[in-house]
């Protein structure tokens, strides 16, 4: 569930808050803990000129330049996760065993172009 933005959100690429509640996706009867977690997502623009804090690749800088010259031909670079972190989930598996499993790349910490 992403909260309705109280202030005008920055149009630039950055992590946006997204809390995933396992009961919202109907998984609450087999996931013991957590009940949900802050997964976040990347949203926003990668405009020309790419600001330094936008965590961008050289390729993205070039692409924004080309996009500013030829907007219809070349799209803007996209805003994607560049650093993620793991979570552990305690759950019942398909044989009712209790499992504690570590999952990589489940939380978006940083975004970039």
């Amino acid at each position: 569930s992403a909260p309705s933005p109280s202030v005008t959100p920055s149009p630039l690429c950055k992590p946006r808050r997204l809390y995933i509640s396992f009961s919202d996706v109907g998984w609450e009867n087999w996931i013991i803990a957590p009940q949900g977690y802050l997964a976040n997502y990347c949203g926003g623009e990668c405009p020309f000129p790419l600001a330094a804090e936008l965590n961008s690749t050289n390729h993205a800088v070039l692409q924004t330049m080309v996009h500013s010259l030829d907007p219809r031909g070349t799209p803007q670079p996209c805003c994607v996760p560049v650093r993620l972190s793991p979570i552990s989930i305690l759950y019942y598996d398909n044989s009712d065993n209790v499992v504690l499993r570590h999952y990589e790349d489940m939380v978006v910490d940083e975004c970039g172009c």
Binding site: I89, Y92, S95, V98, E104
Partner: protein
Amino acid sequence: LSRQESSLLQSLGLSAKPSPKNPAPVPPVLRRMFQRREALPRPHKDRDPCRVEELSVPGDIVRVFADQGRFLPEGQPQGQLCLRRLLFFNLSVLEEGERLTMARLELQFQHNSYPAPSPGQVLELRLYRVSPRGLPQPRPGRRPLLERSFVRLHKSLPLDLSAALKTPGRNLALLLEISASGRTGSLRSLCASSDSFVATSLLVVTLGRQCRAGRSRR
């Protein structure tokens, strides 16, 4: 959504969405491990994702398997048999290529601290690996998987089987025998302390695919 959901479940290592019919209580050891991890400051920069710090072994998946076995009629040739049980663990959920790094059998009894038996009397525990399909009899002359004696029974008795179960297979059948030995005397009272046997479970730590294949991004 269901197609997306099943592909996400696959990537979480599940063949289908679990629907626990009679879910067992969550083992305290797993609950404590989970809570400890939740308390760590995010993001877990310095934590090795492929190591179970709490048990000091490599691994990213910790499972507790409930015993699906049964008690066997007594009938040990010598000594005083207190308890004989066929332990059975369905390990078929272990994925192809998962590497086992720890296997710990846990015998659970109802309560702690029994009256200490008189000196010279001990309880003896023997554990044999038997065929999941055959008779719950160890092959004649077969050495026990594990043999140990203990004097006092505590609420839980952990037995490390990591070395013995390098390749656990899809099903694991073990024959557990607890007998009293020492001067005949009050063997029956010594046996009584094993009568409060409640259950066994098998804690297994493995290295799953995301750890063996390094940080392969999806």
